[in-house]
């Protein structure tokens, strides 16, 4: 390290905080566009800053080692690292803090790469000014940081899987393979869910019912798995790692109580049920996709319906899906499922005329092959306009579908057919009681919401409650299994250490509280209760039940609630730092 890169400011005589600041070049990713030396010099005299330096790579082993030495040498009680996005290296520098004996929550990350150098590469002066403000904001934040300890909880090496479909079954097998005890509850009287009713599937050619039978055999072969049919989760108490769950079985049986570390929710989906009259639903010969798939899967030879041969079929796509004011999402599996069943029909009798009336064909990835095969086997695809859906009518004994084909002659076609298949998608399972019990957030589509669709795809904000399969949105079988295995891996990461840490950045109440109940009424996690302290009724927030959203704070008329890590004082110091002000009162607060 070049000593010129380091600045040791004159010791502030009345400083209570001793903050070290590291400003990263990131090779040249930052320093090519930000004058990092100017940033260093600008903040060197700021209150509380006792050490500031630039570094080529803050995340390098050598710099981490230097940081630890500096923390020891200067007795630092605050650490600011200005480098890349917090999404990348917060765990790295929290670990540095821990190794140096500094509380990990007294370290603050400042993003001067993704949110500065990379977006202002045409404005070096502006980027340098902004970086200076951001680092000052970080110093302001760190100057008000307090040591916090994660709440450590012992974890029970057992899991409850709710739902006995393909995702739940696969999750149960995976959890047992990790050495965890598993209780699998299914509210129906049999396992298998929707997949258990399916015939052959693409691309393996394996029947859904056979796939489920394999999984059921694997479950039965593992003594660590207990299966409870006709059973529902009716109560949950305790905290992550140590949930006490109550399971209610068939009528007349006594509820069972168990202790588990995590819950995997794999409650699947329901199929959209059209209203009577919707695209002719209710007319003889108008079926939904699941009804038609069952008809095909449960028969052999030339297809018949109501005793009559089926010589022509019209498929009407997106029924109940992508509808403004209704289910606005794309169910994404139905285009593929329809292409598949059309191929199966054609394999039996290639003389059957099949017309696909679609808005868009979304047979993504490998399923494009299925779409191609359906066309090669004679399926005709006709695109209708979003605002001009087909009409289904019965004229005498004849079903007729009327549509305008937008891709060819733009002509209005009347197609007489023997069957109409309404291509319906997936909708959320009616699970109000379970959702309410677990306090799981729902997305606008009504399915369970993960924390992040890409980075934390099976975790929910309720610690230790994971979601898998189509309970979190329409999925194919392979996607459901992949999410189930992700939930297995995450469960293992949570439980196999024997203990887990809860985020300590939760809401806290100060002395200004004069209990009005507003905060408690808006907390969906029941984390806030009324208690009496020194004869005064005040709010108390449970650090294990609080999820750290801060949603209660704006409802407090006395502004008595703060979220640790983003307290009002910290935010105001950050704003002042960005605006170029330096809060001198930090020195003496």
């Amino acid at each position: 390290m070049d000593t010129e890169e380091r600045v040791t400011p004159e010791e502030p005589t009345d400083a209570r905080r001793r903050i070290g600041v590291y400003i990263c070049h990131c090779g040249g990713n930052i320093s090519d566009f930000v004058d990092v030396a100017a940033v260093r010099d600008a903040v060197a005299g700021d209150p509380g800053v006792v050490h500031v330096e630039t570094t080529l790579f803050a995340c390098s082993d050598a710099t981490q080692h230097d940081m630890i030495e500096q923390i020891h040498q200067d007795g630092l009680d605050g650490l600011v690292v200005a480098s890349c996005s917090p999404k990348l290296h917060v765990p790295t520098f929290r670990a540095v803090a821990r190794r140096a004996g500094l509380n990990q929550f007294q370290y603050t990350q400042v993003n001067i790469r993704e949110q500065c150098s990379w977006v202002h590469s045409d404005d070096r002066a502006g980027a340098t000014d902004k970086a200076t403000g951001l680092v000052r904001a970080g110093i302001g934040h760190a100057s008000l940081s307090v040591p916090l300890d994660p709440v450590t909880v012992a974890t029970v090496p057992a899991a409850l899987v709710v739902g006995g479909g393909v995702a739940g079954l696969r999750a149960a097998v995976g959890l047992a393979e990790l050495g965890l005890g598993v209780t699998l509850v299914e509210r129906a009287d049999h396992l298998g869910g929707a997949v258990g009713e399916l015939g052959t599937m693409f691309p393996s050619g394996l029947a859904g019912r056979d796939l489920v039978a394999q999984l059921v055999d694997e479950v039965a072969a593992r003594p660590a798995i207990t299966v409870l049919l006709e059973t529902e989760l009716v109560a949950k108490s305790g905290t992550f790692g140590n949930y006490e769950v109550t399971l209610r079985g068939p009528a007349g049986s006594e509820p069972v109580t168990q202790t588990v570390g995590v819950l995997v929710i794999a409650t699947g989906f329901d199929s959209y049920e059209p209203a009577l009259g919707e695209f002719g639903y209710g007319i003889d010969g108008v079926l939904t996709l699941p009804e038609f798939t069952h008809l095909v899967d449960s028969s052999s030879g030339p297809l018949t319906h109501a005793g009559r041969p089926v010589r022509s079929i019209a498929y009407v796509y997106c029924v109940g899906s992508r509808q403004p004011g209704g289910n606005e999402y794309c169910s994404k599996y139905c285009c593929t499922a329809t292409a598949h069943v059309a191929v199966e029909v054609a394999k039996r009798d290639d003389r059957v005329a099949q017309y696909h009336l679609y808005r868009d064909v979304r047979t993504y990835g490998v399923y494009e092959l299925l779409y191609e095969e359906a066309r090669k086997r004679g399926s005709v695809y006709l695109k209708f306009a979003d605002d001009e859906p087909p009409a289904v009518t019965r004229e005498g004994d004849q079903l007729v579908v009327t549509t305008r084909d937008t891709l060819t002659a733009d002509a209005t076609l009347q197609i007489p057919v023997d069957l109409v298949v309404l291509v319906t998608g997936m909708v959320p399972t009616a699970n109000h009681d379970l959702t309410s019990l677990l306090k799981l957030p729902l997305g606008s589509d009504g399915f369970y919401n993960e924390i992040h669709p890409k980075l934390r795809p099976v975790e929910t904000v309720v610690d230790g409650v994971l979601i898998a399969g189509a309970s979190q949105g329409p999925k194919t079988v392979s996607e459901s299994v992949a999410s189930a295995l992700a939930a297995v891996a995450q469960s293992g990461a949570m439980l196999l250490k024997g203990q887990a840490e809860l985020n300590p950045l939760v809401a806290v109440v100060d002395d200004a509280c004069a209990w009005c109940g507003a905060c408690a009424s808006v907390c969906p996690y029941d984390a806030i209760e009324q208690v009496e302290i020194d004869g005064r009724a005040v709010a108390r927030i449970s650090p294990t039940a609080c999820k750290g959203c801060g949603g209660c704070a704006p409802y407090c008329p006395n502004e008595a609630i703060n979220l640790l890590g983003v307290t009002t004082d910290q935010v105001q110091h950050m704003i002042a730092g960005m605006a170029g002000d330096v809060h001198e009162e930090v020195l003496v607060s």
Binding site: S85, Q115, P441, N449, P554, V566
Partner: protein
């Protein structure tokens, strides 16, 4: 790439409250894609926009910022299913406070941003900056 930026450009100062799990990654993505916006835009990430306090917004506008933008999760919020309504309430309350002290409520804006909404973020910043620049100077915070 946003237009009108670069050395010498002056733009209104905008403070963005982003959300750590959803909208802040979207703003990061703008950086990863090297989409440019004005260097007068700075961001503070919070866990959930429902936790932003109206007084923070007022404080920012009284201490050097020209506008405050709430980059909310919309329907993707993992914490609160009514996050949209809560965030709207916060923005409205902040605007009420601003009116009372003679600051234009147009200086507060809110929009949903997802974790891949990089282009949308830059567009929001450009449009918001234009709105702020057009506000009468006597109402400048």
């Amino acid at each position: 790439m946003g237009a009108g930026h670069g050395a010498g450009a002056t733009s209104p100062r905008i403070l963005v409250f982003s959300t750590a799990n959803i909208s802040d990654p979207g703003i990061d993505l703008a950086g990863s894609q090297h989409r440019h916006y004005a260097s007068s835009v700075s961001t503070i990430a919070v866990p959930c926009s429902s936790g932003v306090q109206p007084r923070w917004i007022v404080y920012a506008l009284e201490h050097g910022f020209d506008g405050v933008f709430l980059a909310i999760d919309g329907d993707e919020c993992a914490f609160l299913s009514d996050c949209n309504a809560r965030s709207s309430r916060i923005a409205s309350q902040a605007q009420d406070r601003l009116r009372a002290i003679g600051i234009a409520p147009e200086r507060v804006r809110m929009a949903a941003l997802c974790s891949v909404c990089s282009e949308a973020f830059v567009k929001h910043m450009d449009e918001f900056a234009a709105t702020l620049a057009a506000l009468p100077s006597e109402e400048a915070a």
